[in-house]
Symmetry: D2
Subunit: 249 residues, 4 copies
């Protein structure tokens, strides 16, 4: 039986009707609610910026296999120390799901190296169709050919990201835009999935297909293992490496 996945859902805020009008209970709690009965998940936590160390102590991170990150207007208030801690944990193997406006978060731009806040956007309640480009992929299992979102916030290219390792979804908007709305990136030992659907004004996280994508992505992003590489900027010959390595034979 595969090991259970420990998941932490992070939000820049607690409940705040002004910034999360569609989610009076807080977006982190809305996401945690549909993950609660997911059998692949072990410990399920939420954490928010208002907590000490934003709720992301080294202990919490060490016990987290996949971290979900939601942020919108307070990216600048996240401490650089916590961002660096999360980053090193991702490079050591923890999975990271970057949701919607978290494209502009410090942790995402720090891992990708580009100005990820740069994209085009408007709030116009347009229709969004999230087309699947990668079929037979763990993240799109059970989704069909596209997801229809009746009303959404529009994101448009050019989105300043490196070429994704895999381009999973591309969205169509009725106003004339397309957007790379689902992208995977591997950085260090960690797997990252960016998924744009999920505005604070529409209850998109209630859609079964959106929930399925997030559950699928948690399974995909969970580390196969946390290998301890011996090649940490040190002098070591292949022979020593071979002797030390925890290999099969």
């Amino acid at each position: 039986m595969p090991k259970k996945i420990n998941v932490t859902v992070w939000n820049e805020e607690d409940e705040n009707p002004k910034h999360q009008p569609a989610y009076p209970e807080g977006i982190h709690n809305a996401i945690a609610a549909f993950l609660k009965n997911d059998e692949q998940i072990g410990t399920l936590r939420t954490a928010t910026q208002s907590q000490p160390e934003h709720g992301l102590t080294q202990e919490v991170l060490n016990d987290t296999d996949v971290l979900l990150w939601w942020g919108h207007v307070f990216h600048g208030m996240v401490s650089d120390e916590v961002v660096e801690r999360v980053k090193q944990r991702v490079l050591n193997g923890m999975g990271l799901l970057v949701l919607h406006s978290a494209h502009a978060s410090k942790i995402f731009s720090s891992l990708l190296g580009t100005n990820t806040h740069n994209l085009r956007w408007r709030e116009n309640s347009e229709r969004e169709r999230v087309w699947v480009l990668e079929h037979n992929h763990p993240i799109t299992a059970g989704i069909g050919e596209y997801i229809e979102i009746p009303e959404s916030e529009t994101y448009g290219e050019h989105f300043d990201i490196p070429t994704p390792d895999e381009l999973i979804f591309v969205s169509w908007y009725s106003g004339g835009d397309i957007f790379r709305s689902g992208c995977t990136f591997k950085r260090g030992l960690g797997k990252i999935f960016f998924f744009s659907p999920g505005h604070e004004s529409f209850r998109i996280y209630d859609m079964p297909q959106i929930q399925q994508v997030i559950k699928n992505a948690i399974g995909w992003a969970a580390p196969v293992a946390y290998p301890t590489l011996l090649t940490q900027h040190q002098k070591v010959s292949p022979e020593e490496l071979y002797k030390k390595a925890n290999v099969l034979e």
Copy 2:
């Protein structure tokens, strides 16, 4: 519990001490032997060229989730009709493991579109080190930083393949060559893994690490699902598509 994976191991020959001197039982049987107790596997078959339709009837293929292909000197004797049948099954989602000298097989070059027989080689009993480039990947789980093969056939660049979707292994040879020895490719809905270690004169398939890579790759290549896309060169609007699609809601 995940569905069991049906596996078929194909060889261009039956037992043949001349062409498979290290494997008097036949390479397909040697591979099947170490897969026999793999719990992820359901039906385990072997098939060879001497059988009617090379043992790869439509019925067998339809019941195969991952096909392992070993060939060396008789690539030209494989019927084009069977190659096309295997190809279409891969494009529909079946996984394919291309082993060692099968780099020159019709099925591999047909799926990749290049002259995959082009590489440099010599039989000089050199040492091979198979370095892992992708850690935290299902195919390399449990392998450590490299696999040491005391005596191997040497393959060298330039190897005429398209840029792999993922470069999993690169081999070092004591004679001065490097080689992209483990590569993944996605074609249609199917996942393909090329893995070069495994000569007919050295019992490399007895090495536990090599066996682990093959087992890992079977798990990786097994289809998540066999989706029936509606977009088979037909006129259909997104609305019709949406109605017909077997989606979640």
Copy 3:
């Protein structure tokens, strides 16, 4: 001064008002017309299916640096021998531009290995916006952020191609589809660019931006050199290779 590029424009037909209603002069002639004054081009030829060997003799191919391919309804009538000859020339370094409905051509599917005829389509005179994903790329120089095509044929996903080496353009259609409309692939030594805009019923090839993309792509696809690799499936040690190679020192 860089070497001039020899270009051949191929069409499955000569003039045919039934199949190319918007181009009474033949699409190959319409394309050749706007290439005529391109200073980067040396010899400019056209060739059609009705000619002996479809106009693509070994001599013509050997003197062609970039081949443009337009086909629509007569893909099946192209001889396999000519397709194989073109394919080998691409693998040896010739550039190839695959235009519009040539996605279903034998040469394209043979080089990519997938069922490239599979996509969704309709003729509905919809608006198409061809969004640029790769800025600062030779193919998109001078194009701006997108190309607006007032009336177009609609192509939609899922398009059965391997993951492109570079995804240059993604099109938006007013009817609800997106499509990977500009893709690069490297196969062997040759560079391939697929570009979907260019229907037989709309004079899209008259648009200055579309002409610019094609000119840019010719410059991009032209081979840097036609290296003669020594690694053509032969036994050769690195030392021999080094002695024989035409290297700088």
Copy 4:
């Protein structure tokens, strides 16, 4: 006639016989010496850490099309402000060549997002063979199948970088290692080339093939254009965008 390329060669030190024993004139000066007569180059500058703002003022960067970066033991002494300035210039289109031990520089890790100082190394005067994986590529024009370096510093995997956009070179070392020694990355509008050959104790930069790779890479990394994208995190409809854009028609 193409625009000349303005090049700046940066070094963490001036002349320093202790840290650059093989280059009493300073590595930046050794590199500038062989670039001096390169006809593609316009203004050729050097800059070092000891200069005000490390010689990389906004004015210098604005007049630089391709920056070469060499550093070894003083990465930590480079000011974060200058790093950020260089980074933004790269994201706006300037090319960047990262040479040898600059893999551990702040600018490289900041653009890639990973712990790029992590690799394995030893100084053992081993033989290095730099194998070409991408033929018919601007960076490898005229190089042949590999570059032989009689004595080199050994770098080994695992090297903590994201999957390169293109893997141009892989090195073989007589001691048993392989290393991804030539990699391209695109970040924002800028092109980055990492090239590992070039130790401070061996005059590898005197080798004609190494000089050719660097010249080739300068041509490759030079921006096609510095487009001003309108999509800088602002609200703008495609229609406005189209009107404002400096497009062809």
